[in-house]
Each structure stands twice: as C-alpha cells, then as structure tokens.
C-alpha cells in the first residue's frame, strides 16, 4: 500500500525566515518584468545567485563546515517557495542547491564535499544533471553513455540530451554505464561528477519552441575522468539517481510555475469577477493551497529521513496538472489574446501557454510518475 502523508506545519524557526527573504526580494526584483518572472526557475542571473549565496540562502541544509547553515528542510522550503512565488531568476544555482549538493553530501567522499559544496553555497558553482540521452528518455535504465576504466581513472564516451543549463554550468553529474548491459536492468550504472571544461566535451544549446535556450545536447568523446570523479559506489548509480529524483519531484517548483500568470490574471479580472471567473480562480486557489500542504508534508518526510519517492510522484503529477491547467483557465475566463507584444498579462500568457508542455516532461513524465505510484500499490 502507498505510504500515507500527514499534514505538517512549517515550524516557527523556519517560518521566521519568510519576512526577511520577502523584504530582500521585493527590493532586489523591483524592476523585473512580469514576463521574466514567468520564467520561474528557468531564469538565469549569476549575480542574483551570488547575492543569495552571500545571504546564506543556498545549500541551507548543508553542514556549516561546507558553507551551509545546518538549517532544516523546512527552512529551505520557505526560501525556495518565496523565490518561486516572486519569480526570482534562480536557475543558475537551482539544480546544484536542490539535488547535486544533497547528493554529494549523501554519497560523495569527504574530499568531494570539501571541494564542491562551498562553491555551491556561495552561488558560484552551477551544476546540471546528465540523465536523458537520444535513445533513453523515460526508459532511463537503457542509457548507453559508457565510462570505461582508463590509465588515469575513467574514460567517458556518449551523448546526453535535454540537459538543462549544461551551456552555463560548471559541472555535470552524469549517469553512465560502468558495465555493459546486464540481465539486471538497473545494475551496472554509476554517477560521475564531470568538469565541463575537460577536453572532449562539446555542448550545443537546443532552442526550444519559445525561442529560449535552456536545454542542451552534450557530447563526450574520450573524456578522461579521474578516479575521484566517481560519485558514490560503482554500480549503484540507479538507486542514487532514484533517491535524487525525490528531491527533484516534490518541491514547490512543481506547483508554482504559473504563479506569475495567476497574478496577472487576477489583476486583469479585477475586484468584480463574474461567476465563472470567481469559480475558476477559487478552484485554482484551493488547489494551490492543498498542493502546497502536500508538498510540505513530503518535506516533513525528507526532514525525517524517510524515502518520499512515491509521495513526491503524487505531488509532481498533481502539481504539474494544475500548472498546465492555469494557462487554459486564463483563456477560458478572459478574452485576452496571448501576445509577446501586448500587456504584461498578454505576454505572460503567451509565454506560459507555450512553456507549459515542458512541465510534465521535465523531471519525469506523468506516465513514469503514475507507474511509480502503481508499483507502490502492487499493481506492477
């Protein structure tokens, strides 16, 4: 049976951070246009990330000796959701903060932690995640990128694709095969921390349908890796990746991607909604409220050291369903034509209408998530 989630409140010491970050953001983002806020965690601003790092808002849960502040998962949650709700440009450090740092803390060697974590906490060291390949999307276990033993450690060959921010990151945590395909479907894979400046790596941005360049194709041609570039245990890549994905799937970024649009839509509708507008905006508010509580309940599981993989899959699937409905609701209750040249609302609507298909692709498709849930129900 699936694990039950219990309602949890954000504890007061974490809640205390909220006003501080809100005050900082209202000042720091004063000139940020609505359409850039709509980029949510795809907006890139290195200077902004560095400023967050200075204030101790990156890598918050990490031990102080690595530059963190030993804060709870709830404290990180408060900061994350405030950043997202404001539409702050957090993309530079987002993946490092969300999953690479906790992964390195859990599976990395002491030397790796000391080397990588302080830079992440300063908001100066950016990571991307090398999972998908041209032939391996949802079927991640079928990857063929291969690391073989070499004279100085490992030699990496293969191709990754849809790698968000590879063109602007310093490092990639790469899932690669360290054994040929075996009968054990999830065996023979390992994770490496790859310095993207190494020879033999070429990164080609892929323009998406909105005209932006967030994701990339990354080619590895005889890239030499050191022994100490292996993260965690050889052959344990699959279980490490699965644990990491729970961090990726449960957070507020699976609920709040369309907050910029909810805001412009509310402004557009004004104080006297008609019945349909009131009904739909009430529904959106109710679902945002309930899903946020669900996401906080998963954070409580993370904080308690439990494995929230199934609950995280529930949050992500319901969350992105709402996120994808918001542009549709906006069109159903108001006649604004989405346009890159119109009002703030028209621009945000145009942008998010086009961006929304990616919500249920990134971080695991809805079919994969539902498969995880079905497995927990022992249907497969």
């Amino acid at each position: 049976m699936m694990p039950l989630l219990h309602y949890s409140r954000i504890p007061p010491e974490a809640e205390d951070l909220r006003q501080e970050i809100r005050a900082f953001l209202s000042d720091a983002l004063i000139d940020l246009p609505a359409v850039r806020r709509a980029d949510s965690w795809m907006g890139f601003d290195a200077e902004f990330s560095r400023r967050l790092g200075e204030r101790g808002w990156i890598g918050m849960t990490l031990p102080k000796r690595y530059g963190g502040r030993e804060a709870s998962a709830f404290a990180r949650y408060v900061v994350s959701e405030e950043l997202l709700a404001a539409g702050a440009p957090v993309s530079a450090h987002w993946i490092a903060d969300r999953q690479s740092a906790p992964m390195l803390l859990r599976y990395g060697t002491e030397a790796q932690r000391q080397h990588f974590l302080p830079g992440i906490c300063r908001g100066e060291s950016y990571f991307c995640i090398g999972m998908s390949e041209p032939g391996s999307g949802s079927d991640l276990a079928s990857i063929s990128t291969r690391a073989r033993r070499g004279p100085n450690g490992w030699v990496l060959n293969g191709r990754k694709v849809w790698t968000t921010n590879a063109h602007r990151s310093h490092f990639m945590i790469t899932l690669a095969r360290t054994q040929d395909k075996t009968t054990e479907r999830h065996g023979g894979m390992s994770q490496f921390i790859v310095d993207l400046k190494r020879p033999g790596i070429s990164v080609r941005p892929i323009r998406d349908l909105t005209g932006d360049e967030h994701f990339n194709e990354v080619l590895f041609e005889n890239v030499e890796l050191a022994e100490e570039d292996l993260v965690g245990a050889e052959g344990e890549g699959w279980s490490q990746v699965t644990a990491e994905l729970a961090y990726e799937r449960s957070g507020p970024e699976r609920i709040l991607s369309c907050m910029a649009l909810v805001n412009t839509l509310l402004e557009r509708v004004g104080k006297s909604p008609d019945a349909l507008q009131a009904c739909e905006l009430g529904r959106v508010t109710a679902r945002l409220f309930a899903l946020r509580n669900m996401s906080i309940a998963v954070t409580a599981q993370l904080q308690a050291g439990e494995n929230p993989a199934v609950a995280a899959a529930c949050v992500k699937d319901l969350g992105v369903t709402l996120e994808q409905e918001i542009p549709e609701i906006a069109q159903a209750i108001d006649a604004t034509e989405p346009s890159s040249g119109g009002s703030d609302h028209a621009k945000v609507l145009a942008h998010l209408t086009q961006l929304s298909p990616s919500f249920s692709l990134r971080g695991g498709t809805r079919e994969i998530l539902r498969g995880i849930i079905a497995r927990s129900l022992e249907l497969r």
Partner: protein, 355 residues
C-alpha cells in the same frame, strides 16, 4: 490520542458496519448496537472538552475518527454528532447522550427567546435528540431539543441517508451562545464542510483499496486487469487524489483547532469534491458492471461521495466564494494568503444554497 482513536474506531466499525447492517438501515432501522458501542467508547464526545464530559481531543486528533466514519460509510450520524456535541459544549451545555446534528441551511427567528424555523436537510432528523442551529442579529448558536419540534418530514440525500426537515414553532432552546457577528451563515456551513471533507477523504481511501483489490483479482485477456498499463495509470491518479484529499481534509481539521479556519476548509471541500468525482468515476470504470449492481458494496461509498460533495456547499459554491474573496483582496494578497501570513477579505455568501 490519535493512535487510540484510530484503533478504537477501526475495531468498532469493522465489527458492526456489515452488509447486514446496511440492509437493516436501508429498511428503516436505527443501528442501535453500533450507536451504543460508539457512545460507550466515548468517541461521539471526542472533541468535547473534559469539563463537559468529553475527551477534550483537538480537531486534529478527531480527524481520524471522522475519516474512518467515511471510509466505512457508517449508516448513522456519527460524524454529525461529533460536530454537534463540540458545538453544544461551545454553547455551554454538556452534550446529551443520543445523536445530534447541525442545521446549516436555514436560520431560526427569535420571538422573545423562543425560536421558530423550518430546518431543512437535517441528517437523521427523525432519530436525533438535539439540533444545533443559528439565529441572526445578534449571531448566535441555538441548541434545540427535537422533542419540541412541531413536525419532522422525512427525506434523504442521493445516497439514501436520512435528510429530514424539522420544524420548530416558538420552541424554548436548550442553550444559546453568541457567535462572531459575521459568522452567522458561514459558520455552520464551514463546520459541516469540514466534516464532510474528512468523510469523503475516508471514502476515497476505501474505494482506492477496493479498486486496487479488484484490479488484482479480475482476470481478462488472460491476466489480471491491473496488469494493463491503462488501468494502472487510472488507479494511480485515483491514489494521487486520495493522498491530496487526506492532506487537504487533515489541514482543515488541524488549522481549526483554535477556531474554524475558513480557507483550509474551503480548499478542502473544493479539492476533495473534485477528487470525489474523479475517484468515483475511476472506481466504477475499473469495477465494470458488477460495481454498478445494488449487491456490490462499491456504491455504499460512491453514492455517498456524490451526495457529500454537494452537502454544506458544493465545489461551485465554495469556489465562487473563495474566488470572490481572492479577487477582492487582489493579486498582491494571494501569496501571503496561501502561506497564511495574511487573511482574505471575508466575502458574504454569494447566494443561498439551493435545496
């Protein structure tokens, strides 16, 4: 407290709420043995302060009792009594033994301390000892004894649960207690919505379990239908909505410990109501024709889901009220509201609930 409640209620309901009991109750019987057991276990007064003879449990702990009542489709006003007893204590009277319920859809009129009104859709009105109703100007809770009613007209909701019209004509109240002025209409409606949300979350848990079990047993095309991906994916969505409903309802209870918390309750009633429609549809689709029969127990839960989602304000009702409040408060207030660092501008009822 919560764990004790959980084991106690589960044991009682598993023992007593049987297919035979549903048949007897459908024929008009009152489940006396079940009710006596619930009262003896003191769970009907769980939320009542110890001063008034209850267990003094918070709503957060009481949630599990009401969720279980929904999961078992208890054919008696157990959840309604728990709520009414809490309200009676709030009005300063010790709860009576015997069932009680609220009257959320109509207001009483007051003539020199005697109360009159036609109270509609009262759960098990025919079997109740007391009814908790409201009167306006000034807003107050009024506790009435059904012995002083002039008539009780029988009716039922679409699941066949008794919903009677109880009429009082200048009845002397058992107790009267003040309410906040803006609360008259919304207060009991919110209380009822909170209770039904938890019952629905429990019923969703139950149909998820039944549907998963059926998909594992039922063989077609040479394998259990649960082996087909298209079935797995549908049941997974039912599971997602069940998990979300449980959290939403639990939040409504937990946030209402000091006083009734409007936003969490509205959010719960809206989200759980949507989950009910998706959940019942999926459960019936997977069960096929057998689940559509009177003999199968699935409809004990699905028909209640359809009935409960409309009681004490439907999704449409609460969505409109919440939407109007959100618009009135403006875009800048939305995020502070969601994070409960600000409260919404309260909006009076958009329209009365049609019965």
């Amino acid at each position: 407290m919560r764990e004790i409640f959980e084991t106690t209620i589960e044991r009682i309901l598993v023992d007593h709420v049987t297919p035979a009991l549903f048949r007897e109750c459908a024929a008009g019987a009152w489940p006396d043995a079940l009710w006596t057991t619930l009262e003896d276990a003191e769970v009907t007064c769980a939320a009542v302060p110890e001063l008034f003879g209850g267990s003094g449990a918070s709503w957060e702990d009481t949630f599990t009792l009401i969720r279980a009542a929904g999961a078992h489709a208890v054919p008696a006003p157990f959840a309604d009594t728990l709520l009414a007893n809490w309200l009676m204590a709030r009005a300063g009277v010790a709860p009576a033994k015997r069932p009680a319920a609220i009257a959320a859809l109509s207001q009483l009129t007051d003539s020199n301390g005697q109360y009159s009104g036609r109270l509609e859709k009262i759960p098990w009105g025919r079997d109740l000892k007391r009814i908790v109703a409201v009167a306006a100007e000034p807003a107050r809770l009024v506790v009435l004894d059904t012995a002083s009613a002039v008539s009780i007209e029988r009716g039922c909701n679409l699941a066949g649960e008794p919903r009677d019209t109880v009429t009082f004509d200048r009845a002397r109240p058992v107790a009267v207690a003040p309410l906040p002025d803006d609360a008259t209409h919304a207060f009991l409606l919110l209380c009822g919505a909170m209770i039904r949300s938890a019952q629905m979350a429990g019923a969703l848990q139950s149909i998820l379990q039944m549907t998963t079990a059926y998909a594992t047993e039922r063989v077609q095309f040479g394998k259990p239908i649960g082996h087909f991906q298209v079935i797995q994916q549908q049941i997974a969505v039912l599971a997602e909505h069940t998990a979300c409903s449980l959290i939403a309802a639990e939040a409504a209870f937990a946030e209402s410990t000091a006083d009734i918390a409007a936003l969490p309750i509205m959010a719960a009633k809206i989200c759980v109501g949507e989950a009910a429609s998706i959940g019942a549809s999926t459960a019936h689709a997977v069960h096929g024709a057998i689940g559509f029969t009177d003999e199968h127990t699935l409809h004990l839960k699905t028909r209640r889901l359809w009935a409960w989602r409309a009681e004490y304000g439907s999704q449409a009702y609460w969505s409109q009220r919440l939407g109007r409040a959100v618009c009135e408060s403006g875009a800048r207030a939305l995020w502070p509201t969601l994070t409960q660092t600000a409260t919404l501008i309260p909006i009076p009822a958009a329209r009365e609930i049609h019965t």
